[in-house]
Structure formats: structure tokens, C-alpha cells
Symmetry: C2
Subunit: 356 residues, 2 copies
């Protein structure tokens, strides 16, 4: 059964082995006596493998219960845009008279930096953000609570081994730097985003909160999930070239108890190794704790879309929930749970905006 | 004379008082016995004021010489776009048939997140980045060294006191959170940026290096530099409203010994208090070490432009240097020094790209 690592709410690394929580501090290495996974993640693939073997052999101290905190300290947070179906859907909605994909999309994994300081652990309540937005019918922008609050179902890769500034990481060595995988909900205020994002990209529409799952699953545990993908056309430039592959991990989006979408990480066009090679191609360094998220994961079918803006087609086709209500975007009190074994879940409930 | 703080190359906070370097560890507070200014910056305005008074009274241990390192650990790096002349110049170059300013620019301080992990101290060599670019005459992108490597003359504000997630910082209280100011060179590969930046903004065109000065000048030392600005039109929304103001700090760009531009922070349209209020309006928190840069500072005249793309008008009007050579963008071996008293300088020399 899949091994995963977390951090106890009071500090200290723990593991999930065969469904049981194990206190890793009993292994005797001081990298486990920390408030985050970062020191362990920085210790490299050999230590990761040796630790997994020891835990599987029954070492470590079983825990009665494990209340988990934020698993790692985020260094830089990069959000990619690596699902072809998601990028195509947004292009169709926002530029109906043009080619849905922009010219660069098939040549490089488009991405941008998000706010590392507001990445929070699963279960942290999410306050509805305020911001500037300009309804199309109005002349000037107004300030107030977002009325188009959305989710984004993503996977995230956490960097373990750093790389040096000025030294690109080749695509074939990229995975040596990646410790593990989490689930990510990249909460998005679509109305704030639409008004602010030209020409420098998303900022306050995304920066109020990004939720991650509390268990981190090492990539070594996911090798059986690797599948071949379709060849990329056009063939990528040399620094991005590899045998096309993806992880086969089924994912679902639950909103107030109703599963509103089911999709799979195999729908991603760009792999994490391509993302690492691209991110470092200009000499940018990796740091332990860098979070590389995939961007919204959508499949080809309607029910495989990983955001409400896609599921409701920009608000025009409300989604029906089991209690008989409908949603286009999120209402106060709504709870969203993203799930995908063996990653676990990432959960968040919407709190009302700050008064005034 | 203006006080400033730095960090000794081997660790430990030092100060510059009346032109002399002082070891702050002799003050006896453990916040000075650290590898960065962050613990001191987090201690808040009262400690900052008391420390300045003690140093001015002659406390602390004089240093023979002070070799400085990186002054602070960067939490999140945000780059704004707050110079009206810079935004107008870029609009004129890239969208010659449209209004140079996009509709949101006069309503909010446009900004985006940059890469915190590649912010380096003044003097660190900058390797020419490689990346994807698509020359207009070619059908497909190619990979290679940037041929349009540029500088951006900016000021940067460093956050001292953090704020809580979900709690916007009002514009009138914003400066309580800001410790001090640095000079910033936001190196930019214009060809990489032009191909990658749609629709999510700049990424690899900026993320290879951002240089900051090694002394941080507390805002309290800059009060005599505060000047009234012209009223902003249209009047900003309530959460951004204040008496318009700016710092009056003359700045210059020196390239291989020739001063190629002189400008001033008073040309900025949006203030740092408006930037903080905007950044936190959606509930995003501030962390100690957040770096908020202004974006390129350009004035109304040609010689007041803070980037080579503006000074050479997109490469069409080469700049003459004192040695008789000309430049549109940077060549290998070029050295750029940005200066502005009392901030000091930020310096960097271009090294050739990685072979191949």
C-alpha cells in the first residue's frame, strides 16, 4: 500500500504506512524532528528510499491518531496550465472567434508564479475575497466581494533536491529533484481575475488562498501509475523532448456532497519532468519546497472538467446538486472536497467576505 | 546622515551610520545574530526606532570593513507596474494602433508574482539566460540564448511586520508593515518574455535573476524625501484612496561607465501604501521578507527611461556609450550599475550563456 508523509500538528514528521500513522522521529534522524518535511525532502533520493524501506520493515513508532498540519514550507509556487482540454475550454469561452489555443501553448508548458505565502493546508476555511471587478454592463470598476468564486482541481509536485542558479536541469534528470505529489485546489475569483489580468497575468484573483492535501506521496510510490501518452504534436524542442507519459490517477470534485466532476491526471499534456526542464531552462534554480502545480485538470468530456467555470460553461449551464439546488459559482458555506487515491483529499469551506 | 542595515557575509546584522559600518550584534539583541535581517524586520516599528536611536547615540561595535551578503530572505516577490510613463511607453511600442494604457491601469496597481528564489545580492554575476523565442520572421520557436537582454530600474519595499490571512491592510496603515527600501534590477529577456507571456504573464523572461542592493534603508530614514504628487485621475476606489505622494529619490543607470538614464522615484503613479492595500485587499497575507518592487521607473523624457527597451525604443535607436560603442540590449561582459542616494547601488555583470 502506498506510503505517504505528513507533519504532525505540533511538529514532527509522520508517515502513513498500510493505513496506519507512524511517528518517524523514532527512526532517529533529526530531519524528522522538524515542523515541516523540508529537511527530509532536501536529503535526496537515497535517504527517501532508505526511509521507505525502514518504514515498510516496521520501524517507527505507531501513533494512536495523527492530527496533521501543513506538510511543507512552500518556497516558490508555480502554477502551470498543462491541460489541453482546460486551456481549450477557456479559450473557447473568452475568445469565441479565435483559435482557442494561443500560439505558444503547444510549444511550452505555460506557467506563472503564484503567492507562496497563502498556500494553506486542507481544511483551512477560505474567506470569500473582495476585489476590483468591472461588470461588462458598467463603465467603471467597483470594489466588493467576488461573485464568481471558483475552484481549480490540480495536482502539485513538491521539489526535494534543490538545483543551482545558472544550471538548467535536463528533462531526463528532472525527477531526481521532485520529492512527491499533493492535491491542490487553486481557488480563483474569476471576476477579479478577468479585470486585473492584462497584461501581467493573474494576481489577486488567485492569491487569497491555495489549498494542498496534508499527505505528500513520494513519486517513488507512484511508479505503477505511469502510463504512456499520445505523442506531442508538434514535437517539442530538444530541451523538452522525452517519451510522452503521465500519471494515471483518477480524481473527483465533490461539492456539498455531490460529485460534480471526475477526471484523471492522465489528461495532462505536459509532464512534470517537462515542467522542471522548462522552469530551469533559463538558469532559474529550484529550492526545496518549490510547489509546481499542473493547472486545472480537465478531460475531453463535460463531466471531466476541473473547474466550475468550465462545468457551468461560464455560468450559463448551472450544475445540479443532490439537495436540489444549483450552482454556477460557489456560495458562502459551500464545501469542496477534491479526492484522488492515493493522494487523499483537499477540502475547504467558503466563509463570507469581510463585512463592508 | 541616513542609516541603513545590511548583513555581514558571514552572518550578523550590521548598520551604516554616518558612513561607518557598525556591528549590531554588540547591541545584545539576538535578532542581530542572524544570517538575514528578517528577525529584526519582524520585530516591528518600536524596535526599529529604538535601534536607530541607540546606533545614532554611538552604541554598537565599529567594523574595520564590512563585506555584505544578501540582506534579507525573500518571502514572496511581487513586481508592480506603477510608472505611468513606463506602461505608456511599452503600450506605444507593442500596441501602436491602440490606447497605450490598458483599461485597468489607472484603476489599480497592476502587478504579478516573480520568482523569490532567484533574487540575488548586488554584484552577483548574471548569466545570460536561454529560452524559447520566436523571431517574427520565423514560423516556429527556437531555443537558445536571449538576444534581447535588458535591465529594469526599480525600487523595492521590504515587508517587516506580517499581516494575517483574511485581514486586508487599510491603505492608511500600510506603512506600518514596511521596513525599508532597496534598489532593484529586474533583469529581463525581452524575446523570451514576448513569446511566453500570453495569457498568464511574464515567467522565464524574468525569473533567471533579480538583483537587489545590499543595504536596506528604513522608511523612517526617508521621511524627508516624501513629496506630494499630482491628484490621481480618475480618483481611485475607496480602499486605495489617500493624499497622493511619492518619494523624491534621484536614480541613475550606468552601463559600462556611461550614465545612460537619470530618473526619480517621484515619477511613480502608485505609492507603496496603495500597493500594500491592493495586495492585501483580497485577504492575502504579508510575510516578513516580502519584496514589493515598483516596476520600471521611467520619467516623461527620453533620458529618464529605466530600461533599454525604452531607451533604444525597442532596439530602433541605439544608445551611445562613452567608449564609442553602441547598445540596444546587453552584450556579454556588460556591467550595469543602478544608483540612487541614500539607497546605494545595485550592480551586475553579464556572463555568457551556458554553452550549447
Amino acid at each position: 500500500m502506498t506510503l505517504a508523509y505528513g507533519v504532525l500538528a505540533g511538529g514532527g514528521v509522520c508517515a502513513r504506512v498500510d493505513g496506519r500513522a507512524i511517528d518517524c522521529r523514532a527512526l532517529g534522524d533529526e530531519v524528522f524532528d522538524r515542523p515541516s518535511l523540508n529537511a527530509f525532502m532536501a536529503s535526496g533520493p537515497e535517504v527517501w528510499a532508505r526511509t521507505a524501506a525502514r518504514l515498510r520493515a516496521g520501524e517507527g513508532q505507531p501513533l494512536e491518531a495523527a492530527e496533521l498540519g501543513m506538510p511543507f514550507e512552500v518556497a516558490d509556487y508555480v502554477d502551470f496550465y498543462s491541460s489541453l482540454h482546460h486551456a481549450t475550454n477557456l479559450g473557447r469561452m473568452f475568445r469565441p472567434d479565435a483559435e482557442p489555443l494561443l500560439p505558444n501553448w503547444l510549444h511550452l508548458p505555460v506557467g506563472y508564479h503564484g503567492r507562496a505565502g497563502t498556500v494553506v493546508a486542507s481544511g483551512t476555511p477560505v474567506r470569500r475575497p473582495c476585489g476590483q471587478r468591472k461588470p461588462p454592463s458598467e463603465e467603471s470598476p467597483r470594489f466588493g466581494a467576488s461573485v464568481r468564486l471558483d475552484i481549480e482541481l490540480e495536482a502539485g509536485f513538491v521539489v526535494g533536491m534543490p538545483s543551482a542558479i545558472g544550471e538548467p536541469v535536463p528533462v531526463e534528470r528532472a525527477l531526481e529533484h521532485v520529492f512527491g505529489m499533493v492535491l491542490v485546489n487553486d481557488w480563483s475569483a474569476r471576476d477579479v481575475q478577468a479585470w486585473e489580468y492584462q497584461p501581467l497575468g493573474p494576481f489577486l484573483g488567485k492569491s487569497f488562498a491555495t489549498s494542498v492535501s496534508r499527505w505528500v506521496v513520494p513519486l517513488a510510490e507512484l511508479e505503477s501509475r505511469v502510463v504512456r501518452s499520445e505523442p506531442q504534436k508538434p514535437e517539442p524542442l530538444g530541451y523538452l523532448r522525452e517519451e510522452p507519459w503521465a500519471y494515471d490517477i483518477p480524481l473527483e470534485v465533490e461539492l456539498n456532497g455531490t460529485v460534480v466532476a471526475r477526471t484523471n491526471t492522465r489528461h495532462l499534456y505536459w509532464s512534470v519532468s517537462q515542467q522542471v526542464a522548462h522552469l530551469t531552462a533559463n538558469g532559474a534554480s529550484l529550492r526545496t519546497g518549490d510547489l509546481l502545480a499542473t493547472g486545472t485538470i480537465s478531460g475531453p468530456e463535460r463531466e471531466e472538467r476541473g473547474s466550475l467555470i468550465e462545468l457551468s460553461w461560464n455560468g450559463s449551464e448551472p450544475i445540479e446538486l443532490a439537495d436540489g439546488s444549483t450552482r454556477t459559482f460557489l456560495e458562502d458555506g459551500d464545501e469542496v472536497v477534491l479526492r484522488g487515491e492515493p493522494l487523499g483529499e483537499v477540502r475547504g469551506r467558503i466563509e463570507p467576505a469581510v463585512a463592508g
